[in-house]
Symmetry: C2
Subunit: 340 residues, 2 copies
């Protein structure tokens, strides 16, 4: 951890340690339970509460790959942490803290201030402090590792789905993919929504830039639901990971999938593609026993998160979409592959 | 954590999940105590032993910044983990596991196999399993976050040095800097050692490419020494972090610093520069009460690590070098600054 205590002002007027201090150290910030030592030493020291496990996830965001050059740094700071918190949500864990490793092409002060602003607004909303990190010069790259805690045995593992489980989705899928298509100027999206759709439908762009990690729902589901995953590579692709890990199949009732107003303006084939294969949604996809329907409804209500029952898990393998007319068809479980 | 369980062979013949599985998943690898769930879910699950804290450190290595293009991938795999384990050593922690986030310009199979080989050889030597990660396409960037455990109160914190403490160094400093100078063809190094020095002195290159994290020593010092840091930015610069955090000064007895044979061939000024400001050494620099000298010797012996007493901590601020002739002079606590 090369984020040491700052030396005197005189010796490093505009250097790495100064950057770190100005944007990422927050001396007045209240100490968080579980964090014994934060930024400024070789390691951070943390402890989950007695009888709890630690959940850990890491994600790397690369310019041009995960976000477009010129992306608003406030949104980027939010999103870099949100995608990691979403992994904690999908495990049912409560956030404890995170580390940030950052490669920057130059020491751009306004950019860093905006990035840190977006990052800390989300971190503070979930009482998840920055406990350590590393800053270096290089092509823009943001690597966050996040830590949470949960009761052993309550984790929402991908391999824990059972045949006959109900399949649920929080929120709705597809809007982030549609927003990306509009940003990129993909003709099918422009034709259906018009070239000014991102201006007239600001919520659409927010779904791409500012995903909401479903932490309250994830914690409410821990010990109640069976398997869960967060939808980052598309509903079908991520469901495929649960099916593969649990050695099961699934049916999705197409008519039950919530469709955002913007998606309702798409032709049916493209609407379905966004719903099933969109990606970047960061909604929770989870399974639970049918006798837990009331408890799932209560968990959704308690966490103020919309949840929809969209299908079921089957002992027979394969992923099937069942349209309103009843003629089911196979759905490929493809997701986005960085080296495909 | 986008390192999910692999889908069927057919659907992803040469993609991301295949890469991960082939090089980083090790199904036959024995489970490690403390790791409840490893690669293949949204999060890894770990638990330090009851009554222990978790120590966490993260480091990002960028091509052209931390290693030269064309660096042997076996050495790179070793070094990427070694610099992180060195942070655990400097805290006195025992390794539990690590996550790896990797941006790669392409899916280069032989490179990945070699990188994974170097990485896992060191990980296995310290029973420190890979518990999760992320792989993406992008300019080469390696971000490792490492986890260890220690007794609360035993951590070797930078702010824990006391006036009157002895100052100790494991191993010796300067060889990595000299090896880098030879690699880069810096004239002062070539003149002193000749252009074939890296061939005739293979140990010198090893000090740059394959640093040894001093984990056994660090654990032996936990609860015994006061402050510690690992020397990554040069002895003086890293000592400066202890002095700043502990609000103290220090004197280094220049004559007591161990000098490697290769460094003995340098003119005095350059030799001293390598010793005090070299960097990339990954030795432990630590302080302990004078009445603990026998215990420190025993810790060095038990951990089979050479340790030298090189000076002392002073209540008066400043860092001073004391040569054999006794005329002390101020030493700048400059280290390497990525944005200086």
């Amino acid at each position: 951890m090369n984020a040491p205590a700052p030396l005197s002002e005189a010796s490093r007027p505009a250097g790495e340690f100064d950057l770190i201090r100005r944007h990422f150290q927050r001396p007045g910030h209240p100490r968080t339970p579980g964090v014994a030592l934060g930024i400024g030493d070789d390691c951070a020291l943390m402890a989950p509460r007695a009888g709890h496990q630690l959940a850990i996830s890491t994600d790397m965001l690369v310019e041009g790959r995960h976000f477009l050059p010129g992306t608003d740094p406030v949104a980027l700071g939010h999103k870099a942490l949100a995608v990691n918190l979403s992994d904690l949500a999908a495990m049912g864990a409560r956030p404890l803290g995170f580390t940030l490793a950052l490669a920057l092409p130059d020491a751009n002060d306004p950019w860093l201030a905006a990035f840190a602003g977006g990052l800390f607004a989300l971190a503070d909303a979930h009482a998840c402090p920055l406990v350590g990190g590393d800053t270096t010069r290089g092509p823009l790259n943001i690597c966050i590792t996040v830590f949470g805690e949960l009761h052993p045995g309550h984790a929402l593992r991908r391999d824990a789905a059972r045949a006959g489980d109900d399949l649920y989705l929080s929120g709705r899928t597809g809007e982030a993919r549609l927003a990306l298509a509009l940003l990129r100027g993909e003709p099918w999206a422009l034709q259906a929504l018009g070239s000014d759709a991102l201006q007239t439908l600001p919520d659409l762009g927010q779904r791409l830039d500012r995903p909401t990690p479903r932490l309250a729902l994830g914690q409410a589901l821990a010990g109640l639901a069976h398997a869960a995953i967060d939808v980052s590579d598309g509903l079908a692709g991520d469901l495929g990971h649960i099916l593969s890990a649990s050695d099961l199949g699934a049916e999705i009732q197409l008519g039950s999938l919530p469709v955002a107003p913007a998606l309702q303006r798409l032709p049916p084939a493209q609407q379905e593609d966004c719903l099933l294969h969109g990606g970047d949604d960061y909604e929770l996809l989870f399974t639970a026993a049918p006798d837990k329907r009331e408890a799932i409804e209560a968990a959704a209500l308690d966490s103020a998160t919309p949840v929809t029952r969209i299908g079921c898990l089957t002992a027979a393998p394969g992923l099937w979409a069942v349209p309103a007319d009843g003629q089911r068809r196979a759905v490929p479980t493809r997701g986005f592959d960085h080296f495909g």
